[in-house]
């Protein structure tokens, strides 16, 4: 049984870390982009961003004044039990979100869509989002918070099998060019692409591809991995850099996630995880241990399974 006060305390720490500390994989990716960027204004922007991450850590202040829309991904091992059950868990995550909004401080971004009511704590109807996943074996809970920014950079389109890879590339470029102008999507970004599913799952897959995979990580399907590399190159050949200035850094990495879709369609979504690619993760164990990391390790073989049944590989039972 995992104690709820430990979950809440850990969640507050995660909110703090996500807002302030840029994950290492993104930082390394951005430094590599800064190395090769030769547009004068784009270069200036990347350099300023690198200084900004340092300033945030030194001062313990949020890296970006728009602290996005904090959300939670929760994953549990099959044997996990949490004190008070799922309702207590959701209350703890909502409390942690409200506390951290006031503590860090974060910007109270969440308002009612019609009445614009603001509780000044990032909590409201459906906010923060809490999504769940499960893994065979294990007694632990992974708490992942993502503070995705941006009103811009995300789009969906119904494509068809006849659109093919050429159609995928077109919609990908359209999204990058459109939202890249004037830097509305705060590029260079981690681009997540959802392919297939239904409209809602296509969006979910693309968002998770952007937010829950680290820079350098490749899809386990070698052909999809190749397409990821190709799309990254393509994005960086547009001739556009940070803020929509002349340059070549648009994409720090491109990630694709797929889901089985209707036989007639090929849904596609594109998501940009911005210059403030904020995520923080902790695994909490029943014995009170807490391990912090920045890699969500969300997309396991189990999450991408294709079969009816799932045979637990022998070594999985312990390590997962």
């Amino acid at each position: 049984m995992i104690p709820m006060d430990l979950i809440e305390k850990t969640a507050v720490t995660l909110m703090n870390k996500a807002a302030i500390e840029i994950p290492d994989d993104y930082l390394t990716g951005l430094k590599a982009a800064a190395e090769v960027e030769d547009g004068d204004l784009s270069s200036f922007v990347l350099q300023a961003m690198l200084e900004n991450y340092e300033a945030a850590k030194e001062d313990r202040r949020a890296m970006c004044g728009d602290t996005g829309t904090p959300r939670w991904y929760v994953k549990m091992g099959n044997q996990t039990q949490v004190e008070g059950g799922p309702v207590a868990l959701e209350a703890a995550l909502r409390r942690a979100t409200a506390k951290a909004t006031n503590g860090v401080p974060l910007r109270p971004n969440r308002v009612h869509p019609l009445w614009r009511t603001d509780h000044d704590n990032n909590v409201g109807i459906g906010a923060p989002e809490i999504e769940y996943g499960y893994e065979p074996g294990g007694e632990w809970i992974d708490l992942i918070t993502v503070h995705k920014g941006g009103l811009f950079g995300t789009d969906y389109r119904m494509l068809f099998p006849s659109d093919g890879i050429e159609g995928i590339k077109r919609f990908y470029l359209d999204s990058l060019v459109a939202f890249g102008k004037r830097g509305l999507s705060c590029q260079p970004a981690i681009i997540g692409i959802g392919l297939g599913g239904c409209k809602d799952t296509c969006m979910v897959l693309g968002k998770r591809a952007a937010c829950l995979r680290t820079v350098g990580d490749r899809n386990s399907d070698p052909k999809i991995a190749e397409l990821e590399m190709e799309l990254k190159e393509l994005g960086n050949s547009i001739g556009m850099g940070a803020m929509g200035f002349v340059g070549k850094s648009m994409v720090i990495d491109a990630h694709i996630e797929v889901g089985y879709c209707h036989t007639g369609g090929m849904q596609m979504s594109v998501h940009a995880f911005c210059l403030s690619s904020r995520r923080a993760v902790a695994r909490v164990f029943a014995d009170g241990r807490v391990e912090y990391r920045t890699d969500p390790q969300w997309f396991t073989d189990y999450q991408r399974r294709e079969t009816v049944e799932w045979e637990v590989p022998q070594n999985h039972e312990k390590s997962a």
Binding site: N52, A62, L173, G244, L275
Partner: protein, 225 residues
């Protein structure tokens, strides 16, 4: 980092003179000193549509309007805690800006993404105003460092923390990029034009979607704001 020319850096008051403003060139980097206030749709609606009295002496106290909601809180003792500061996209405020510039005398509009040269020529230039863009746009921690003090917050009860009018004292706050000049030229449009020349090559080997959308254009050089 590739070998690139460093942009020019300039320190500017938040109540600048016309001569100082006339010297600014597209792409210059600016750091600000003096009082600055945040105002976005909430403040504009209240001041212009509802005709509420603006709780500051404008532009004498400040001629710098920041399109921003800070990550900030009001402490129990009434003091303020301001962490990071990042601008929000300005093009959404075009509806109120002509009237606001005339009424407030703002000479610097600071935000994300800029406006169009049409906007600049129509009401920035006649009011002697310049647009400064924040950088990144995620340089919230750097900009937060440039805040010496939070002097006041107005209309937070009516508008909430995010839409309230925050008054901040800047000390070498920046960097900002000059995105419009005194003739109404637009930095982003200049860059967009340069990039657009190459786009047809990038699009080679792609195909337009089988199912079209209403109002869809295939002109990649088009500005979208």
């Amino acid at each position: 980092m590739g070998s690139t020319a460093k942009p020019r850096e300039i320190r500017l008051s938040t109540t600048p003179t016309q001569e100082e403003l006339a010297k600014l060139k597209l792409g210059d980097i600016v750091y600000l000193d003096g009082l600055m206030y945040t105002a976005r749709e909430g403040v504009y609606k209240r001041a212009l549509d509802e005709k509420a009295n603006i709780p500051m002496e404008l532009p004498a106290e400040s001629a710098a309007n920041f399109h921003c909601s800070p990550a900030a809180r009001i402490n129990e003792d009434g003091t303020f805690e301001m962490g990071a500061v990042t601008a929000t996209a300005s093009f959404r405020f075009a509806k109120w800006l002509p009237e606001w510039l005339a009424k407030s005398g703002a000479k610097l509009v600071i935000g994300k993404g800029g406006m169009s040269s049409k906007d600049y020529k129509a009401y920035f230039v006649p009011n002697g105003a310049i647009y400064l863009s924040t950088v990144g746009y995620g340089t919230g921690a750097l900009l937060g460092r440039g805040v010496d003090n939070v002097e006041a917050i107005h209309w937070n009860e009516e508008l909430g923390l995010a839409q309230a009018m925050w008054v901040i004292r800047c000390n070498r706050m920046g960097p900002f990029i000059v995105a419009s000049d005194h003739e109404g030229n637009c930095l982003f449009e200049r860059e967009n034009e340069r990039i657009s020349k190459n786009l047809h090559k990038v699009y080679e080997g792609t195909r337009p979607a089988t199912l079209k959308r209403f109002g869809e254009t295939d002109d990649k050089s088009e500005e979208l704001i």
